[in-house]
Symmetry: C2
Subunit: 294 residues, 2 copies
Amino acid sequence: MGFGEETKAYREMIESALSGYIAGCGAPEQLKDAMEYSLKAGGKRLRPVLTLYVCDMLGGDVQRALPFACALEMIHTYSLIHDDLPCMDDDDFRRGRPSSHKVFGEANAVLAGDGLLSYAFDIMLKVMQKDFTPNALNAAIAVSRGAGVRGMVAGQVIDLASETADDPGIDQLRFIQDNKTAAMIKAAVLAGAYMAGGDEAQLDALSRYGDAYGVLFQMTDDILDVEGDFEGMGKTLGKDQQENKLTYISLYGLDKAKEIARETADEAIAAVDIFGERATLLRELAKSCLDRRS
Amino acid sequence: MGFGEETKAYREMIESALSGYIAGCGAPEQLKDAMEYSLKAGGKRLRPVLTLYVCDMLGGDVQRALPFACALEMIHTYSLIHDDLPCMDDDDFRRGRPSSHKVFGEANAVLAGDGLLSYAFDIMLKVMQKDFTPNALNAAIAVSRGAGVRGMVAGQVIDLASETADDPGIDQLRFIQDNKTAAMIKAAVLAGAYMAGGDEAQLDALSRYGDAYGVLFQMTDDILDVEGDFEGMGKTLGKDQQENKLTYISLYGLDKAKEIARETADEAIAAVDIFGERATLLRELAKSCLDRRS
Protein backbone atom coordinates (compact mmCIF):
# COMPACT_ATOMS: atom_id res chain seq x y z
CA MET A 1 0.00 0.00 0.00
CA GLY A 2 3.00 2.29 0.39
CA PHE A 3 1.62 3.67 3.63
CA GLY A 4 3.34 1.35 6.05
CA GLU A 5 6.75 1.72 7.63
CA GLU A 6 8.38 3.63 4.78
CA THR A 7 6.17 6.65 5.26
CA LYS A 8 5.82 6.43 9.03
CA ALA A 9 8.41 9.09 9.75
CA TYR A 10 6.68 11.49 7.38
CA ARG A 11 3.30 10.81 8.91
CA GLU A 12 4.64 11.44 12.39
CA MET A 13 6.10 14.75 11.29
CA ILE A 14 2.79 15.70 9.73
CA GLU A 15 0.70 14.74 12.78
CA SER A 16 2.99 16.66 15.06
CA ALA A 17 3.05 19.75 12.83
CA LEU A 18 -0.73 19.72 12.40
CA SER A 19 -1.18 19.53 16.17
CA GLY A 20 1.20 22.43 16.59
CA TYR A 21 -0.59 24.53 14.01
CA ILE A 22 -3.95 23.91 15.65
CA ALA A 23 -2.60 24.63 19.12
CA GLY A 24 -1.12 27.91 17.91
CA CYS A 25 -3.87 29.03 15.57
CA GLY A 26 -5.28 31.62 17.96
CA ALA A 27 -8.88 30.78 17.10
CA PRO A 28 -11.61 30.75 19.75
CA GLU A 29 -11.93 27.35 21.45
CA GLN A 30 -15.17 26.42 19.66
CA LEU A 31 -13.60 27.00 16.26
CA LYS A 32 -10.32 25.37 17.21
CA ASP A 33 -12.19 22.29 18.44
CA ALA A 34 -14.18 21.94 15.24
CA MET A 35 -11.10 22.42 13.06
CA GLU A 36 -9.12 19.92 15.11
CA TYR A 37 -11.91 17.33 15.19
CA SER A 38 -11.84 16.95 11.42
CA LEU A 39 -8.15 17.58 10.89
CA LYS A 40 -7.11 14.96 13.42
CA ALA A 41 -9.68 12.37 12.40
CA GLY A 42 -6.99 10.00 11.24
CA GLY A 43 -6.81 10.11 7.48
CA LYS A 44 -3.83 8.47 5.85
CA ARG A 45 -2.32 11.87 4.95
CA LEU A 46 -1.77 10.95 1.32
CA ARG A 47 -1.31 14.51 0.07
CA PRO A 48 1.12 15.77 2.73
CA VAL A 49 3.09 12.50 2.60
CA LEU A 50 3.47 12.99 -1.16
CA THR A 51 4.76 16.51 -0.57
CA LEU A 52 7.39 15.37 1.92
CA TYR A 53 8.37 12.28 -0.08
CA VAL A 54 8.89 14.24 -3.27
CA CYS A 55 10.86 16.94 -1.45
CA ASP A 56 13.09 14.24 0.07
CA MET A 57 13.40 12.40 -3.23
CA LEU A 58 14.78 15.54 -4.87
CA GLY A 59 17.24 16.17 -2.05
CA GLY A 60 15.29 18.97 -0.38
CA ASP A 61 14.87 19.70 3.32
CA VAL A 62 11.51 18.19 4.29
CA GLN A 63 11.14 20.67 7.16
CA ARG A 64 10.78 23.42 4.59
CA ALA A 65 8.08 21.50 2.74
CA LEU A 66 6.20 20.68 5.93
CA PRO A 67 4.09 23.89 6.18
CA PHE A 68 2.89 23.36 2.60
CA ALA A 69 2.14 19.72 3.34
CA CYS A 70 0.02 20.82 6.32
CA ALA A 71 -1.72 23.52 4.28
CA LEU A 72 -2.69 20.87 1.72
CA GLU A 73 -4.11 18.61 4.41
CA MET A 74 -6.10 21.52 5.87
CA ILE A 75 -7.54 22.34 2.46
CA HIS A 76 -8.35 18.68 1.84
CA THR A 77 -10.05 18.52 5.25
CA TYR A 78 -12.10 21.69 4.66
CA SER A 79 -13.32 20.17 1.39
CA LEU A 80 -14.46 17.02 3.21
CA ILE A 81 -16.31 19.05 5.87
CA HIS A 82 -18.17 21.08 3.26
CA ASP A 83 -18.73 17.99 1.10
CA ASP A 84 -20.42 16.17 3.98
CA LEU A 85 -22.92 18.98 4.61
CA PRO A 86 -26.61 18.10 4.24
CA CYS A 87 -26.86 20.38 1.19
CA MET A 88 -23.92 18.62 -0.46
CA ASP A 89 -23.40 14.84 -0.05
CA ASP A 90 -25.31 14.71 3.23
CA ASP A 91 -22.95 12.26 4.91
CA ASP A 92 -23.45 11.72 8.61
CA PHE A 93 -20.20 9.82 8.98
CA ARG A 94 -16.63 10.39 7.88
CA ARG A 95 -13.87 7.92 8.63
CA GLY A 96 -16.15 6.05 11.02
CA ARG A 97 -16.94 9.09 13.16
CA PRO A 98 -19.89 11.47 13.02
CA SER A 99 -19.16 14.17 10.47
CA SER A 100 -18.45 17.75 11.52
CA HIS A 101 -22.01 19.05 11.10
CA LYS A 102 -23.40 16.18 13.21
CA VAL A 103 -21.10 17.10 16.08
CA PHE A 104 -20.87 20.89 15.88
CA GLY A 105 -23.98 21.79 13.87
CA GLU A 106 -24.14 22.86 10.24
CA ALA A 107 -23.23 26.50 10.78
CA ASN A 108 -20.10 25.64 12.73
CA ALA A 109 -19.17 23.04 10.13
CA VAL A 110 -19.36 25.66 7.38
CA LEU A 111 -17.19 27.96 9.49
CA ALA A 112 -14.71 25.22 10.45
CA GLY A 113 -14.22 24.61 6.73
CA ASP A 114 -13.85 28.32 6.02
CA GLY A 115 -11.40 28.54 8.91
CA LEU A 116 -9.21 25.68 7.67
CA LEU A 117 -9.07 27.10 4.15
CA SER A 118 -8.15 30.55 5.46
CA TYR A 119 -5.59 29.16 7.88
CA ALA A 120 -3.91 27.10 5.14
CA PHE A 121 -3.18 30.28 3.19
CA ASP A 122 -2.15 32.10 6.34
CA ILE A 123 0.44 29.42 7.07
CA MET A 124 1.91 29.61 3.58
CA LEU A 125 2.10 33.41 3.68
CA LYS A 126 3.81 33.31 7.07
CA VAL A 127 6.47 30.96 5.71
CA MET A 128 7.23 33.57 3.07
CA GLN A 129 7.31 36.35 5.64
CA LYS A 130 9.87 34.47 7.71
CA ASP A 131 12.08 33.56 4.79
CA PHE A 132 10.98 34.55 1.33
CA THR A 133 12.08 32.41 -1.59
CA PRO A 134 10.59 32.24 -5.08
CA ASN A 135 10.27 28.47 -4.53
CA ALA A 136 8.01 29.00 -1.52
CA LEU A 137 5.85 31.34 -3.58
CA ASN A 138 5.68 28.80 -6.39
CA ALA A 139 4.70 26.09 -3.91
CA ALA A 140 1.94 28.31 -2.51
CA ILE A 141 0.69 29.07 -6.02
CA ALA A 142 0.64 25.36 -6.85
CA VAL A 143 -1.48 24.70 -3.75
CA SER A 144 -3.76 27.65 -4.53
CA ARG A 145 -4.22 26.46 -8.11
CA GLY A 146 -5.06 22.93 -6.98
CA ALA A 147 -7.58 24.13 -4.41
CA GLY A 148 -9.29 26.87 -6.33
CA VAL A 149 -11.75 27.74 -9.05
CA ARG A 150 -9.61 26.08 -11.72
CA GLY A 151 -9.00 23.11 -9.43
CA MET A 152 -10.87 21.36 -6.66
CA VAL A 153 -13.77 23.82 -6.33
CA ALA A 154 -14.33 23.65 -10.09
CA GLY A 155 -14.41 19.85 -9.91
CA GLN A 156 -16.94 19.95 -7.10
CA VAL A 157 -19.26 22.24 -9.02
CA ILE A 158 -19.23 20.07 -12.15
CA ASP A 159 -19.59 16.89 -10.06
CA LEU A 160 -22.70 18.39 -8.49
CA ALA A 161 -24.06 19.43 -11.87
CA SER A 162 -23.46 15.95 -13.29
CA GLU A 163 -25.86 14.45 -10.75
CA THR A 164 -28.80 16.19 -12.38
CA ALA A 165 -27.45 16.45 -15.96
CA ASP A 166 -29.42 14.66 -18.64
CA ASP A 167 -26.62 12.74 -20.17
CA PRO A 168 -23.25 13.43 -18.57
CA GLY A 169 -20.43 11.92 -20.58
CA ILE A 170 -16.71 11.30 -20.69
CA ASP A 171 -15.78 15.00 -20.97
CA GLN A 172 -17.56 15.82 -17.73
CA LEU A 173 -16.13 12.76 -16.01
CA ARG A 174 -12.60 13.69 -17.05
CA PHE A 175 -13.10 17.26 -15.86
CA ILE A 176 -14.42 16.08 -12.50
CA GLN A 177 -11.62 13.61 -11.86
CA ASP A 178 -8.90 15.98 -13.10
CA ASN A 179 -10.13 18.79 -10.89
CA LYS A 180 -11.96 17.38 -7.90
CA THR A 181 -9.34 14.76 -7.05
CA ALA A 182 -6.20 15.01 -9.18
CA ALA A 183 -5.66 18.78 -8.85
CA MET A 184 -4.86 18.59 -5.13
CA ILE A 185 -2.68 15.48 -5.58
CA LYS A 186 -0.75 17.22 -8.33
CA ALA A 187 -0.43 20.27 -6.07
CA ALA A 188 1.01 18.01 -3.36
CA VAL A 189 3.81 16.61 -5.51
CA LEU A 190 4.54 20.00 -7.07
CA ALA A 191 4.73 21.74 -3.68
CA GLY A 192 7.30 19.16 -2.57
CA ALA A 193 9.25 19.58 -5.79
CA TYR A 194 9.31 23.37 -5.59
CA MET A 195 10.50 23.29 -1.98
CA ALA A 196 13.35 21.03 -3.06
CA GLY A 197 14.25 23.39 -5.90
CA GLY A 198 13.26 20.89 -8.57
CA ASP A 199 14.14 21.73 -12.19
CA GLU A 200 11.75 22.04 -15.08
CA ALA A 201 12.03 18.43 -16.26
CA GLN A 202 11.38 17.19 -12.73
CA LEU A 203 8.38 19.48 -12.29
CA ASP A 204 7.00 18.38 -15.62
CA ALA A 205 7.38 14.67 -14.78
CA LEU A 206 5.76 15.14 -11.38
CA SER A 207 2.95 17.17 -12.88
CA ARG A 208 2.16 14.29 -15.24
CA TYR A 209 2.44 11.81 -12.37
CA GLY A 210 0.07 13.90 -10.24
CA ASP A 211 -2.49 14.07 -13.01
CA ALA A 212 -2.38 10.34 -13.71
CA TYR A 213 -2.11 9.08 -10.16
CA GLY A 214 -4.80 11.50 -8.99
CA VAL A 215 -7.25 10.22 -11.58
CA LEU A 216 -6.26 6.62 -10.85
CA PHE A 217 -6.89 7.20 -7.15
CA GLN A 218 -10.44 8.35 -7.91
CA MET A 219 -11.06 5.50 -10.38
CA THR A 220 -9.97 3.02 -7.75
CA ASP A 221 -12.37 4.54 -5.24
CA ASP A 222 -15.18 4.22 -7.75
CA ILE A 223 -14.32 0.59 -8.52
CA LEU A 224 -14.21 -0.21 -4.80
CA ASP A 225 -17.61 1.42 -4.35
CA VAL A 226 -18.99 -1.19 -6.73
CA GLU A 227 -16.81 -4.21 -5.95
CA GLY A 228 -17.10 -3.68 -2.23
CA ASP A 229 -20.80 -3.95 -2.77
CA PHE A 230 -20.52 -7.20 -4.72
CA GLU A 231 -18.11 -8.74 -2.27
CA GLY A 232 -19.75 -7.43 0.84
CA MET A 233 -16.56 -5.84 2.12
CA GLY A 234 -14.89 -2.47 2.21
CA LYS A 235 -16.61 0.84 1.75
CA THR A 236 -19.67 0.86 -0.46
CA LEU A 237 -22.18 3.30 -1.77
CA GLY A 238 -25.91 2.73 -1.60
CA LYS A 239 -27.49 1.68 -4.91
CA ASP A 240 -29.07 5.11 -5.32
CA GLN A 241 -25.78 6.89 -4.96
CA GLN A 242 -24.09 4.50 -7.39
CA GLU A 243 -26.77 5.01 -9.98
CA ASN A 244 -26.43 8.78 -9.85
CA LYS A 245 -22.66 8.82 -9.79
CA LEU A 246 -20.80 9.49 -12.99
CA THR A 247 -17.85 7.07 -13.16
CA TYR A 248 -15.94 5.04 -15.73
CA ILE A 249 -18.03 2.10 -14.56
CA SER A 250 -21.32 3.90 -15.18
CA LEU A 251 -20.08 4.89 -18.64
CA TYR A 252 -18.22 1.77 -19.78
CA GLY A 253 -18.89 -1.03 -17.30
CA LEU A 254 -16.58 -2.58 -14.69
CA ASP A 255 -14.20 -4.53 -16.93
CA LYS A 256 -13.45 -1.58 -19.19
CA ALA A 257 -13.10 0.69 -16.13
CA LYS A 258 -10.47 -1.67 -14.71
CA GLU A 259 -8.63 -1.69 -18.02
CA ILE A 260 -8.57 2.14 -18.06
CA ALA A 261 -7.32 2.12 -14.48
CA ARG A 262 -4.45 -0.22 -15.46
CA GLU A 263 -3.50 2.07 -18.35
CA THR A 264 -3.61 5.09 -16.09
CA ALA A 265 -1.38 3.35 -13.55
CA ASP A 266 1.10 2.64 -16.37
CA GLU A 267 1.04 6.33 -17.30
CA ALA A 268 1.73 7.38 -13.71
CA ILE A 269 4.60 4.90 -13.43
CA ALA A 270 6.12 5.93 -16.74
CA ALA A 271 5.95 9.60 -15.78
CA VAL A 272 8.41 9.15 -12.89
CA ASP A 273 10.86 7.03 -14.86
CA ILE A 274 13.47 9.81 -14.81
CA PHE A 275 13.80 9.51 -11.04
CA GLY A 276 14.79 5.81 -11.16
CA GLU A 277 15.02 4.03 -7.81
CA ARG A 278 14.27 7.20 -5.86
CA ALA A 279 10.63 7.21 -6.97
CA THR A 280 9.79 3.78 -5.57
CA LEU A 281 6.96 4.99 -3.37
CA LEU A 282 5.36 6.89 -6.24
CA ARG A 283 5.38 3.72 -8.35
CA GLU A 284 4.18 1.58 -5.45
CA LEU A 285 1.25 3.93 -4.83
CA ALA A 286 0.12 3.62 -8.43
CA LYS A 287 0.52 -0.18 -8.43
CA SER A 288 -1.25 -0.58 -5.12
CA CYS A 289 -4.35 1.14 -6.50
CA LEU A 290 -4.80 -1.82 -8.81
CA ASP A 291 -4.65 -4.25 -5.86
CA ARG A 292 -6.71 -2.25 -3.38
CA ARG A 293 -9.45 -4.21 -1.77
CA SER A 294 -10.37 -1.88 1.04
CA MET B 1 -21.89 59.58 3.48
CA GLY B 2 -18.47 59.79 1.86
CA PHE B 3 -19.61 57.52 -0.92
CA GLY B 4 -20.65 60.08 -3.46
CA GLU B 5 -18.54 61.80 -6.09
CA GLU B 6 -15.27 61.75 -4.17
CA THR B 7 -15.02 57.99 -4.28
CA LYS B 8 -16.62 57.46 -7.69
CA ALA B 9 -13.33 57.04 -9.51
CA TYR B 10 -12.23 54.38 -7.01
CA ARG B 11 -15.52 52.56 -7.30
CA GLU B 12 -15.30 52.53 -11.07
CA MET B 13 -11.79 51.09 -10.91
CA ILE B 14 -13.01 48.43 -8.51
CA GLU B 15 -16.04 47.45 -10.59
CA SER B 16 -13.96 47.21 -13.70
CA ALA B 17 -11.22 45.17 -11.99
CA LEU B 18 -13.73 42.81 -10.37
CA SER B 19 -15.38 42.22 -13.76
CA GLY B 20 -12.00 41.50 -15.26
CA TYR B 21 -11.08 39.07 -12.51
CA ILE B 22 -14.34 37.18 -12.90
CA ALA B 23 -14.04 37.10 -16.69
CA GLY B 24 -10.52 35.70 -16.41
CA CYS B 25 -10.97 33.37 -13.47
CA GLY B 26 -11.07 30.21 -15.59
CA ALA B 27 -13.84 28.63 -13.51
CA PRO B 28 -16.60 26.58 -15.14
CA GLU B 29 -19.56 28.74 -16.22
CA GLN B 30 -21.85 27.60 -13.39
CA LEU B 31 -19.29 28.58 -10.77
CA LYS B 32 -18.34 31.81 -12.50
CA ASP B 33 -22.03 32.80 -12.70
CA ALA B 34 -22.61 32.18 -9.01
CA MET B 35 -19.45 34.05 -8.00
CA GLU B 36 -20.34 36.96 -10.26
CA TYR B 37 -23.97 37.13 -9.12
CA SER B 38 -22.96 37.91 -5.56
CA LEU B 39 -19.80 39.86 -6.31
CA LYS B 40 -21.56 42.21 -8.72
CA ALA B 41 -24.69 42.65 -6.61
CA GLY B 42 -23.95 46.31 -6.10
CA GLY B 43 -22.55 46.78 -2.64
CA LYS B 44 -21.00 50.14 -1.88
CA ARG B 45 -17.49 48.64 -1.91
CA LEU B 46 -16.54 50.12 1.44
CA ARG B 47 -13.53 47.86 2.02
CA PRO B 48 -11.87 48.16 -1.40
CA VAL B 49 -12.55 51.91 -1.51
CA LEU B 50 -10.78 52.23 1.84
CA THR B 51 -7.81 50.31 0.43
CA LEU B 52 -7.50 52.58 -2.60
CA TYR B 53 -8.16 55.77 -0.66
CA VAL B 54 -5.51 55.02 1.94
CA CYS B 55 -3.00 54.02 -0.73
CA ASP B 56 -3.66 57.29 -2.54
CA MET B 57 -3.57 59.29 0.68
CA LEU B 58 -0.07 57.99 1.40
CA GLY B 59 1.15 58.77 -2.10
CA GLY B 60 1.06 55.19 -3.40
CA ASP B 61 0.04 53.91 -6.83
CA VAL B 62 -3.58 52.80 -6.49
CA GLN B 63 -3.15 50.33 -9.37
CA ARG B 64 -0.83 48.32 -7.16
CA ALA B 65 -3.35 48.28 -4.33
CA LEU B 66 -6.22 47.30 -6.62
CA PRO B 67 -5.71 43.49 -6.57
CA PHE B 68 -5.74 43.54 -2.76
CA ALA B 69 -8.85 45.73 -2.78
CA CYS B 70 -10.56 43.20 -5.04
CA ALA B 71 -9.40 40.28 -2.89
CA LEU B 72 -10.94 41.97 0.16
CA GLU B 73 -14.24 42.45 -1.65
CA MET B 74 -14.24 38.80 -2.74
CA ILE B 75 -13.63 37.66 0.82
CA HIS B 76 -16.35 39.99 2.11
CA THR B 77 -18.72 38.61 -0.54
CA TYR B 78 -17.95 34.98 0.29
CA SER B 79 -18.72 35.72 3.94
CA LEU B 80 -22.11 37.17 2.98
CA ILE B 81 -22.95 34.13 0.83
CA HIS B 82 -22.11 31.70 3.64
CA ASP B 83 -23.79 33.96 6.22
CA ASP B 84 -27.06 33.90 4.27
CA LEU B 85 -27.21 30.08 4.13
CA PRO B 86 -30.23 28.42 5.77
CA CYS B 87 -27.97 26.91 8.45
CA MET B 88 -26.51 30.33 9.28
CA ASP B 89 -28.70 33.49 9.17
CA ASP B 90 -31.16 31.96 6.70
CA ASP B 91 -31.62 35.13 4.68
CA ASP B 92 -33.51 34.77 1.42
CA PHE B 93 -32.58 38.24 0.26
CA ARG B 94 -29.37 40.23 0.09
CA ARG B 95 -29.28 43.80 -1.20
CA GLY B 96 -32.83 43.45 -2.49
CA ARG B 97 -32.12 40.39 -4.62
CA PRO B 98 -32.60 36.71 -3.82
CA SER B 99 -29.53 35.44 -1.98
CA SER B 100 -27.10 33.04 -3.64
CA HIS B 101 -28.61 29.84 -2.26
CA LYS B 102 -32.08 30.85 -3.45
CA VAL B 103 -30.81 31.30 -6.99
CA PHE B 104 -28.17 28.59 -7.33
CA GLY B 105 -29.11 26.17 -4.57
CA GLU B 106 -27.38 25.68 -1.24
CA ALA B 107 -24.58 23.44 -2.47
CA ASN B 108 -23.56 25.86 -5.21
CA ALA B 109 -23.74 28.75 -2.74
CA VAL B 110 -21.33 26.97 -0.42
CA LEU B 111 -19.00 26.37 -3.38
CA ALA B 112 -19.34 29.92 -4.73
CA GLY B 113 -18.20 31.14 -1.32
CA ASP B 114 -15.34 28.65 -1.22
CA GLY B 115 -14.42 29.71 -4.74
CA LEU B 116 -14.33 33.43 -3.93
CA LEU B 117 -12.20 32.87 -0.85
CA SER B 118 -9.75 30.69 -2.78
CA TYR B 119 -9.63 33.09 -5.71
CA ALA B 120 -8.90 36.05 -3.42
CA PHE B 121 -5.73 34.35 -2.21
CA ASP B 122 -4.86 33.25 -5.71
CA ILE B 123 -5.00 36.85 -6.90
CA MET B 124 -2.73 38.07 -4.12
CA LEU B 125 -0.20 35.29 -4.74
CA LYS B 126 -0.16 36.06 -8.47
CA VAL B 127 0.64 39.73 -7.74
CA MET B 128 3.67 38.54 -5.83
CA GLN B 129 4.68 36.16 -8.60
CA LYS B 130 4.61 38.97 -11.14
CA ASP B 131 6.51 41.44 -9.00
CA PHE B 132 7.49 40.40 -5.52
CA THR B 133 7.80 43.09 -2.87
CA PRO B 134 7.78 42.68 0.92
CA ASN B 135 4.97 45.27 0.95
CA ALA B 136 2.76 43.06 -1.21
CA LEU B 137 3.42 40.14 1.13
CA ASN B 138 2.56 42.32 4.14
CA ALA B 139 -0.65 43.43 2.45
CA ALA B 140 -1.60 39.81 1.75
CA ILE B 141 -0.86 38.85 5.34
CA ALA B 142 -3.01 41.74 6.60
CA VAL B 143 -5.89 40.50 4.45
CA SER B 144 -5.34 36.92 5.56
CA ARG B 145 -5.29 37.94 9.21
CA GLY B 146 -8.51 39.94 8.83
CA ALA B 147 -10.31 37.11 7.08
CA GLY B 148 -9.13 34.17 9.10
CA VAL B 149 -9.43 32.25 12.33
CA ARG B 150 -8.14 35.22 14.36
CA GLY B 151 -10.34 37.58 12.38
CA MET B 152 -13.65 37.37 10.57
CA VAL B 153 -14.21 33.61 10.89
CA ALA B 154 -13.51 33.83 14.63
CA GLY B 155 -16.05 36.64 14.95
CA GLN B 156 -18.67 34.61 13.11
CA VAL B 157 -18.20 31.60 15.38
CA ILE B 158 -18.56 33.64 18.56
CA ASP B 159 -21.51 35.57 17.11
CA LEU B 160 -23.22 32.25 16.44
CA ALA B 161 -22.42 30.98 19.93
CA SER B 162 -23.77 34.18 21.50
CA GLU B 163 -27.22 33.46 20.07
CA THR B 164 -27.61 30.46 22.32
CA ALA B 165 -25.37 31.53 25.23
CA ASP B 166 -27.03 31.94 28.61
CA ASP B 167 -25.81 35.38 29.37
CA PRO B 168 -23.56 36.84 26.70
CA GLY B 169 -21.90 40.04 27.88
CA ILE B 170 -19.68 42.90 26.86
CA ASP B 171 -16.57 40.74 26.37
CA GLN B 172 -18.31 38.59 23.81
CA LEU B 173 -19.83 41.61 22.10
CA ARG B 174 -16.45 43.30 21.82
CA PHE B 175 -14.90 40.14 20.44
CA ILE B 176 -17.64 39.79 17.84
CA GLN B 177 -17.47 43.37 16.63
CA ASP B 178 -13.66 43.47 16.66
CA ASN B 179 -13.43 40.29 14.64
CA LYS B 180 -16.57 39.82 12.58
CA THR B 181 -16.68 43.39 11.24
CA ALA B 182 -13.66 45.48 12.22
CA ALA B 183 -10.98 42.92 11.29
CA MET B 184 -11.72 43.14 7.56
CA ILE B 185 -12.06 46.94 7.66
CA LYS B 186 -8.71 47.18 9.42
CA ALA B 187 -7.26 44.81 6.82
CA ALA B 188 -8.57 47.10 4.09
CA VAL B 189 -6.83 50.23 5.39
CA LEU B 190 -3.64 48.31 6.20
CA ALA B 191 -3.47 46.71 2.74
CA GLY B 192 -3.69 50.19 1.20
CA ALA B 193 -1.03 51.50 3.55
CA TYR B 194 1.36 48.63 2.87
CA MET B 195 0.99 49.03 -0.89
CA ALA B 196 1.89 52.71 -0.51
CA GLY B 197 4.93 51.83 1.58
CA GLY B 198 3.49 53.42 4.73
CA ASP B 199 5.79 53.78 7.73
CA GLU B 200 5.26 52.35 11.19
CA ALA B 201 3.51 55.41 12.64
CA GLN B 202 1.14 55.51 9.69
CA LEU B 203 0.39 51.80 9.95
CA ASP B 204 -0.23 52.13 13.64
CA ALA B 205 -2.61 55.10 13.18
CA LEU B 206 -4.52 53.30 10.45
CA SER B 207 -4.70 50.14 12.50
CA ARG B 208 -6.36 52.09 15.33
CA TYR B 209 -8.66 53.80 12.85
CA GLY B 210 -9.66 50.45 11.34
CA ASP B 211 -10.45 48.99 14.75
CA ALA B 212 -12.54 51.98 15.82
CA TYR B 213 -14.29 52.68 12.54
CA GLY B 214 -14.99 48.98 12.01
CA VAL B 215 -16.69 48.69 15.38
CA LEU B 216 -18.55 51.96 14.82
CA PHE B 217 -19.79 50.67 11.48
CA GLN B 218 -21.28 47.60 13.17
CA MET B 219 -22.76 49.66 16.05
CA THR B 220 -24.45 51.91 13.50
CA ASP B 221 -25.91 48.91 11.73
CA ASP B 222 -27.27 47.64 15.02
CA ILE B 223 -28.77 51.03 15.90
CA LEU B 224 -30.40 51.24 12.46
CA ASP B 225 -31.84 47.76 12.93
CA VAL B 226 -33.73 49.12 15.93
CA GLU B 227 -34.45 52.67 14.84
CA GLY B 228 -35.48 51.61 11.36
CA ASP B 229 -38.00 49.40 13.07
CA PHE B 230 -39.34 52.24 15.20
CA GLU B 231 -39.45 54.65 12.32
CA GLY B 232 -40.68 52.21 9.73
CA MET B 233 -37.84 52.95 7.35
CA GLY B 234 -34.54 51.52 6.30
CA LYS B 235 -33.42 47.99 6.91
CA THR B 236 -34.84 46.27 9.95
CA LEU B 237 -34.57 42.98 11.69
CA GLY B 238 -37.56 40.94 12.72
CA LYS B 239 -38.34 41.12 16.44
CA ASP B 240 -37.06 37.60 16.98
CA GLN B 241 -33.73 38.40 15.44
CA GLN B 242 -33.39 41.58 17.46
CA GLU B 243 -34.13 39.80 20.69
CA ASN B 244 -31.47 37.19 20.05
CA LYS B 245 -28.88 39.59 18.80
CA LEU B 246 -26.13 40.70 21.13
CA THR B 247 -25.58 44.45 20.63
CA TYR B 248 -24.74 47.53 22.67
CA ILE B 249 -28.46 48.24 22.60
CA SER B 250 -29.39 44.85 24.02
CA LEU B 251 -26.80 45.33 26.77
CA TYR B 252 -27.14 49.02 27.60
CA GLY B 253 -30.20 50.41 25.81
CA LEU B 254 -30.41 52.72 22.80
CA ASP B 255 -29.28 56.01 24.38
CA LYS B 256 -26.16 54.54 25.92
CA ALA B 257 -25.43 52.69 22.67
CA LYS B 258 -25.56 55.97 20.77
CA GLU B 259 -23.23 57.57 23.28
CA ILE B 260 -20.73 54.73 22.88
CA ALA B 261 -21.01 55.12 19.10
CA ARG B 262 -20.18 58.83 19.40
CA GLU B 263 -17.15 58.07 21.54
CA THR B 264 -16.01 55.43 19.08
CA ALA B 265 -16.38 57.90 16.20
CA ASP B 266 -14.20 60.35 18.14
CA GLU B 267 -11.58 57.64 18.59
CA ALA B 268 -11.57 56.86 14.88
CA ILE B 269 -11.26 60.53 13.98
CA ALA B 270 -8.47 61.13 16.49
CA ALA B 271 -6.54 58.14 15.20
CA VAL B 272 -6.03 59.71 11.77
CA ASP B 273 -5.07 63.12 13.08
CA ILE B 274 -1.49 62.68 11.88
CA PHE B 275 -2.65 62.68 8.26
CA GLY B 276 -4.29 66.12 8.48
CA GLU B 277 -6.35 67.20 5.48
CA ARG B 278 -5.47 64.10 3.51
CA ALA B 279 -7.64 61.88 5.72
CA THR B 280 -10.88 63.77 5.08
CA LEU B 281 -12.76 60.77 3.76
CA LEU B 282 -11.75 58.66 6.75
CA ARG B 283 -13.10 61.32 9.11
CA GLU B 284 -16.24 61.82 7.02
CA LEU B 285 -16.95 58.09 7.09
CA ALA B 286 -16.80 58.04 10.87
CA LYS B 287 -18.97 61.16 11.21
CA SER B 288 -21.52 59.92 8.70
CA CYS B 289 -22.12 56.79 10.76
CA LEU B 290 -23.63 59.00 13.43
CA ASP B 291 -26.03 60.54 10.89
CA ARG B 292 -26.91 57.39 8.96
CA ARG B 293 -30.59 56.88 8.52
CA SER B 294 -30.60 54.18 5.89
